[in-house]
Amino acid sequence: MANKIADSISREEFFYGHKACAGCGGSLAVRAALKVLGPNAVSVLPAGCMSAVGFNFPQLCFSNNSIISTFAGTASMLTGIEAGLRAKGYKDFTAVGFAGDGGTADIGIQALSGAIDRNDNIIYICYDNEAYMNTGIQKSGLTPFGARTTTTPAGSNIHGNIRPKKNMFEIVAAHGIPYAATASVGYIGDFIAKVQKASQIQGTKYIHVIAPCPTGWGVAVDETVEIAKEVVDSGLWYLAEYENGEYRLTHRPKEFTSAEAYLKRQGRFRHLTEDDIKVITDSRDEKWKFIEKNFIV
C-alpha cells in the first residue's frame, strides 16, 4: 500500500531548500501535496510559517509557480489566479492554497467562505498546527482545549486555552462544498489520496490536515509523524470526507489509544489535571457519537 502511494506521486521535489524547523509537519504536508499536484500547480501561501521559511529573496524555495498572498487573502488570491489563468486560456493547472490554522479559521475565513460560495475551482489546504506558530505560538481559533500557548498561559486559575477547536471541516461542508476532507500527516497515504481526489473534482475543495509543530507542541523533532498518527488513533482527530452532501469516515480506529498518553507526552498539555483530561475525553466521546450517527462509517 505504502509503495503504491509513493509510486503514485512525483519523484520531483517542488518545495526544498527552505528553512523550516526540524520536524515541521506543515512543510511535509506542502511537499507531499505538491508532489501530487505536479509542476502545473500554482501555490498561494499567506503570511505564515510556509511563506516565512520558503520565500526570502533571493532564496526562493518553490520550483512551481508560487506567490505569497496577504494574511487574509489566500482564497481571494486563488480566485484571481484561477480566473486570470482561465481568461488567458490555460486549462491544465491547479490553483492550490496552503494556509495555516490562523490564516484559515481566523483571519482568512471570510475569503475562504466567499470562494466556496462562488464554487471557484481551487484546492484550499489548511495545514493545522493548532496555533500561530510563526509568530511564536499564540492561540488561534484551532488551538484545542487546554493547550498552553504564549497567549493562553497555564496557571493555577486558567489551564491554558479555555475553548475547543473551531470545527472548520463541518463549517466548510455546511457551504455545500463539492469536496472537503480531514487528514493528518501521520496518515500520509490518506492525505495524498485526498489531494489526488480533490484534484479530479471541479469546484472548491478543502482539505484540513493536522500538521504537528514540535516547537509549539513540545515534542521531539523526530516525533512529528508519530504524534500526528496518535492524535487520530486516540480519537481526538478523525479522518473523513464530505462529498455529495454526505460525511464519510476514511479511517476507523478499532479502539482508541489513550487520550491522556497523547496529551501528556506534549509540553503544551503537561499541566492538564485529571478533570481537564476528562473534559477532553468526554468531548471526544460525544464527537464520536455524532460521527456514528451522522457519518457513513
Binding site: F57, N65, I67, S76, G80
Partner: protein
C-alpha cells in the same frame, strides 16, 4: 457616439473599451453603478471578462492581484470605507508592481457615517504607491479609464492606478459624453504583455519577502516606477489626442495662470466653479486663475511651482483635512512651491467635507480672503480657522 451618461456610466464605458480580463466587484455607494453596468456588459456580451462577485473589498483587490499575477488585465472599483478596508492590498499591489486599475468614488469616511463626496478616502492613501488621478467631468472619467491602463502597464511604470471620481457630484451627474469606437480604443490600448506573471515554462516565486539588504532597493524601484509615470502620462496624452482628438494637459490643468496674481489650486469637480468665479473676478479687474491638479501621484511639483511662480497668493481648496495638521493637498503644494523658492503666500481652505456644498460665493470669498490676507487654514462655512 455621443451619449448622456453619469460619471460612473462613462467610466464603465471606458473600462469596457479597455477590455479587462478579470473584474472583481463588491458594491459600495456611490460606486455601485460602475459594477452594475459592467455586469450588464458581461451579460450582453459587449465585454468579455471574468466577472467575480467577491465578498469584500479586501478580496476585491486580492483577487485583482491574483489575476494580474497571471498577466491578465484586472479591474476593480471601490469607495471610502471599502478603500480603507482594502488598504493593506493597496500597498501590496504597488509593491508587487501589479498594474491594476481601480476606480474610487471619492466619499467621506466614517465616523460620523456619510455617503457623500469628499476626498479624505483617497488622499489618506497617497503613500500606498498608486498613481492617483482626479477627474473633473464624465468625459475625462471615460478618457482616464482608457488612458489608465496604458500608463499603469507601461514597462517603465508597472504601477497600479487609482482613478478618483468625486462621489455623487461626478459619479451621479449626467453629461453628454463622446464614446470612442472599439476600433479606436484597440488602436490606442494594446493588450497587456508582461514578464511579471506566472509562467509555466519558467516558474516564478512572486510577492516574496526581502530582508533589510534588499527590501529598500525594491521600494526605491517602486518609487522610480511611479515617477516614470510623469513622462508616460505626457506620451499617453499625445497618443490619445492623435487618435481621439481630445487634448489633456498632463499632471495639472492651468486656467488663466500666466498673468494671474491670485490662484486657487484645487482638484476634482469643483474646479469648474472655480474657473467660472475666476472669469467673473477678471471682469472686475482682479487677475484670478485656477490650477486643477489632475494627478496627486506622481505629484506635479515642478508644474505647480511654475504655475504659481508669478502669483502673489494662492489658496489650496480641498475636501480633506489631516486632523492635527492641515489639508494634505496644501502640504504637498507648499512643498512644491518651497522647492522652487516660490514667493507666493499660501492659504488653505478646507471645504465640502461630508458632501457639504461649496458655493460660488464661497469661492469668491476665497479669492477675496487671499487678496487681503487671512488665516493659514480656513474651514469654509464653519467659522473655524487657524494659523497652524
Amino acid at each position: 457616439m455621443k451619449k448622456f451618461l453619469s460619471g460612473n456610466e462613462a467610466f464603465a464605458e471606458g473600462i469596457r473599451l479597455a477590455r479587462p480580463e478579470v473584474i472583481s466587484a463588491y458594491p459600495i455607494t456611490p460606486q455601485t453603478i460602475v459594477v452594475e453596468r459592467l455586469s450588464e456588459m458581461v451579460e450582453n456580451g459587449s465585454l468579455k471578462s471574468e466577472y467575480v462577485h467577491v465578498e469584500s473589498e479586501h478580496s476585491a483587490l486580492s483577487c485583482a492581484m491574483g489575476a494580474s499575477a497571471t498577466g491578465a488585465r484586472a479591474f476593480t472599483a471601490t469607495s471610502s470605507q471599502g478603500l480603507l478596508y482594502m488598504a493593506e492590498c493597496l500597498y501590496y499591489a504597488a509593491g508587487g508592481r501589479f498594474p491594476i486599475v481601480m476606480m474610487n468614488a471619492d466619499r467621506s469616511t466614517a465616523l460620523p457615517w456619510n455617503i457623500y463626496g469628499d476626498q479624505r478616502d483617497s488622499l489618506s492613501q497617497l503613500d500606498s504607491g498608486w498613481i492617483q488621478s482626479y477627474a473633473e467631468n464624465a468625459q475625462e472619467a471615460l478618457d482616464l479609464a482608457l488612458m489608465s491602463y496604458r500608463i499603469a502597464e507601461d514597462k517603465r511604470v508597472s504601477t497600479p492606478y487609482m482613478a478618483n471620481l468625486d462621489g455623487f457630484v461626478l459619479t451621479h451627474t449626467y453629461e453628454k459624453v463622446d464614446i470612442p469606437t472599439e476600433e479606436e480604443a484597440d488602436r490606442f490600448l494594446p493588450a497587456y504583455e508582461t514578464d511579471n506573471r506566472i509562467d509555466f515554462d519558467n516558474p516564478k516565486n512572486m510577492a516574496f519577502s526581502a530582508g533589510p539588504d534588499t527590501n529598500f532597493i525594491f521600494k526605491y524601484k517602486a518609487h522610480e516606477g511611479i515617477l516614470a509615470a510623469k513622462e508616460v502620462i505626457k506620451e499617453t496624452e499625445n497618443e490619445f489626442e492623435a487618435i481621439f482628438g481630445r487634448r489633456y494637459s498632463g499632471l495639472i490643468e492651468n486656467y488663466l495662470t500666466d498673468d494671474a496674481e491670485y490662484i486657487i489650486v484645487t482638484l476634482g469637480s469643483i474646479a469648474g466653479l472655480c474657473r467660472k468665479t475666476a472669469d467673473r473676478l477678471r471682469e472686475q479687474g482682479i487677475r484670478a486663475g485656477v490650477v486643477r491638479i489632475r494627478y496627486m501621484r506622481p505629484f506635479p511639483n515642478e508644474e505647480i511651482a511654475e504655475a504659481l511662480s508669478s502669483a502673489k497668493a494662492y489658496a489650496v481648496l480641498e475636501k480633506d483635512i489631516s486632523f492635527g495638521n492641515e489639508g494634505t493637498v496644501f502640504t504637498n503644494v507648499n512643498s512644491a512651491v518651497k522647492k522652487e523658492n516660490g514667493k507666493a503666500e499660501g492659504y488653505n481652505f478646507i471645504g465640502g467635507l461630508g458632501g457639504r456644498n461649496i458655493s460660488a460665493s464661497d469661492i469668491e470669498n476665497i479669492y477675496e480672503s487671499i487678496i487681503k490676507g487671512t488665516d493659514r487654514v480656513t474651514f469654509i462655512g464653519t467659522g473655524g480657522g487657524n494659523n497652524g
